[in-house]
């Protein structure tokens, strides 16, 4: 949305770092700017004062102090490697998220069904916050710390390799201070890990630490930033840092780019630090409102001294927002994981995202 002069995530989302429940304005923009059909349906254009993009299509009227969203995401993935050829549909996540806000305070929580065999209910995000001024806010609770570009593509190396994979419920408990201004954003986070989850728990990020991410928007359609994070895990310490950019060359042509370096050292005596890095690029073009085509490239090498740590992929995709509440995303990738094979394998997936 930077390409449409909306550099701040809070233009559409409750969260400072984006993602999750939409504000009412975000819903209006979803209809007016993102959807191929249904852009004419806005709150003020309908006789009943309800719009197609409203929560539950406007059938359930929410108080102005409440934003809510019921979302479902599933994916059909096809993998073709020397070892397996398989297509499978997977439920990714389904959550109800609600946010309540006053001029000074805000509260947010999700409740959803856990994916995988474990099943059960999970609250990925829940936090309370203070809106000290228009720009300055604080929040305490469970969410991802601000770092880099927040995208729903959780399998990209700048998310999955960094331990911020929402499919694995890796949100941690944090205290965040955020300055969201017209041109500058600054978000500082103290990460307390998961004191509520017993170790070891593959679905919990027990790392503690903190980070900071800052950005500047310029020329109406661009935003550049840099992030730093320090994490202290049970067996390793790490430093992460790198620049990122969201560039709207035109209202239709855009680039997401993130480059991260990682310095990690084991806590065991005598170990030396390991340097590694990763990047992600997504170059997209909106052919017509609601229909995007894009190319992606991502690369990770968690240990510059170890060539078998290389993962490299590139791909092409298409994303469709047919009407408010719906998103279809298809991508085909060529993927190489050197530790498994020097050959590229195929991965294709079709994701359905419904947000009501």
């Amino acid at each position: 949305m930077v390409r449409h002069n909306y550099p701040n995530c809070t233009s559409c989302h409750v969260s400072n770092t984006g993602g999750g429940v939409l504000t009412q304005y975000g819903r209006e923009l979803s209809a007016a700017l993102l959807s191929h059909w249904g852009s004419e349906s806005t709150t003020e254009s309908t006789t009943a004062g309800r719009a197609e993009g409203d929560f539950a299509y406007g059938l359930i009227e929410l108080p102005k102090s409440v934003d809510a969203m019921l979302s479902y995401r599933g994916v059909y993935a096809y993998v073709n490697t020397p070892f397996v050829q398989r297509g499978q549909y997977t439920y990714m996540q389904g959550d109800l998220e609600a946010a309540y806000h006053t001029p000074w305070l805000f509260f947010d929580a999700t409740l959803g069904l856990r994916s995988g065999r474990e099943g059960g209910l999970v609250s990925r995000r829940h936090y309370a916050g203070l809106q000290a001024t228009e720009e300055l806010s604080f929040r305490l609770g469970r969410f991802f710390p601000g770092f880099g570009i927040n995208t729903a593509d959780h399998l990209i190396p700048t998310k999955s390799n960094l331990g911020w994979d929402e499919s694995r419920e890796q949100e941690s408990y944090n205290l965040e201070a955020a300055w969201i201004g017209e041109q500058y954003n600054l978000i500082a986070t103290a990460d307390f890990g998961r004191p509520d989850a017993s170790e070891p728990n593959p679905n919990a990020n027990h790392e503690t630490g903190g980070g900071i991410t800052g950005s500047r928007s310029f020329a109406d359609h661009h935003k550049v930033g840099a992030s730093y994070f320090y994490g202290d895990g049970s067996s390793t310490r790490r430093h992460l840092f790198g620049p990122w950019a969201i560039l709207g060359f035109t209202p239709n042509f855009y680039l997401l780019s993130e480059w991260d370096l990682r310095r990690e050292e084991a806590k065991s005596a005598g170990s030396s630090a390991t340097w590694g890095g990763m990047n992600y690029q997504k170059l997209g073009y909106e052919l017509t409102q609601g229909l995007h085509v894009y190319a992606t490239q991502d690369y990770s090498r968690l240990d510059f001294k170890d060539p078998t740590s290389i993962k490299n992929s590139f791909g092409l995709g298409a994303q469709l927002f047919p009407r408010p509440h719906f998103e279809l995303n298809f991508q085909w990738q060529k993927l190489k994981t050197v530790a498994l094979s020097e050959d590229y394998t195929d991965l294709a997936w079709l994701m359905l995202n419904i947000y009501i």
Partner: protein
């Protein structure tokens, strides 16, 4: 957040030609609407939402009398577009009420240019006064302008501030976003070479409106 309106006017070669020709008592500088444009800049809060709108160039003319630049520029408000049809309708129908007040008029009352300007000259922060008629009300405005004479063209950029409430415009609100009262506008105009026969200048108006407002977090 920057407050106020930037009124950026790039004056054409005709003005430059007038400056170069001694003894010319008064020179009219017609504004070419087709070659111009208008842009406004607004900010909605919370979330520092930026809205940029563009429209046709202004009509009218500027007049250079000695070293004083005056004139009248008229702008079609219905030509403004922000990129979102819904928002454009709200802006024009509900707030600007273009069906009743189709034009905004900026009457430049006084902008004093120093003598001896020649190609390559540039001036900054030149004060000016004007009257802005908008939404059925007229208010004086003051601002500063930058002026540059280059390659036979004169580029004049001016800025000033208004409060939309002063013009009887309701504070725009939509879906939890409140627009600020203060607006930023810039206007641009350009034209042909100084050393040739005066040409019809092009005009390019850019209106930047920066609105800051209040409102709780949504």
């Amino acid at each position: 957040m920057k407050n106020g309106i930037q009124f950026l006017v790039v004056v054409t070669a005709t003005l430059a030609g007038a400056l170069a020709n001694a003894g010319v008592a008064s020179t009219s500088i017609p504004l070419d609407q087709d070659a111009g444009s208008v842009e406004f800049r607004a900010t909605g809060r919370p979330s520092a939402i930026k809205i940029v709108g563009k429209g046709k160039g202004p009509m009218g003319s500027l007049v250079l009398s000695g070293s004083e630049l005056t004139g009248v520029a008229r702008f079609e408000l219905s030509s403004l577009e922000t990129g979102i049809e819904m928002r454009d309708r709200h802006m024009k129908e509900k707030y600007l009420e273009v069906q009743k007040y189709p034009e905004a008029t900026l009457e430049l009352r006084s902008l004093h240019l120093p003598e001896g300007l020649k190609d390559g000259s540039s001036l900054t922060q030149v004060p000016f006064t004007a009257n802005l008629a908008l939404h059925g009300k007229e208010k004086p405005v003051t601002g500063v302008a930058d002026l540059q004479l280059k390659d036979g063209k004169i580029l004049l950029s001016a800025s000033f501030g208004i409060r939309i409430a002063d013009y009887g415009i309701a504070l725009p609100k939509f879906a939890g976003i409140t627009m600020a009262d203060e607006v930023q506008i810039s206007v641009q105009s350009s034209g042909g070479p100084v050393n040739h026969a005066p040409r019809k200048p092009a005009s390019h108006f850019t209106l930047h409106s920066t609105l800051s407002g209040c409102g709780g977090r949504t």
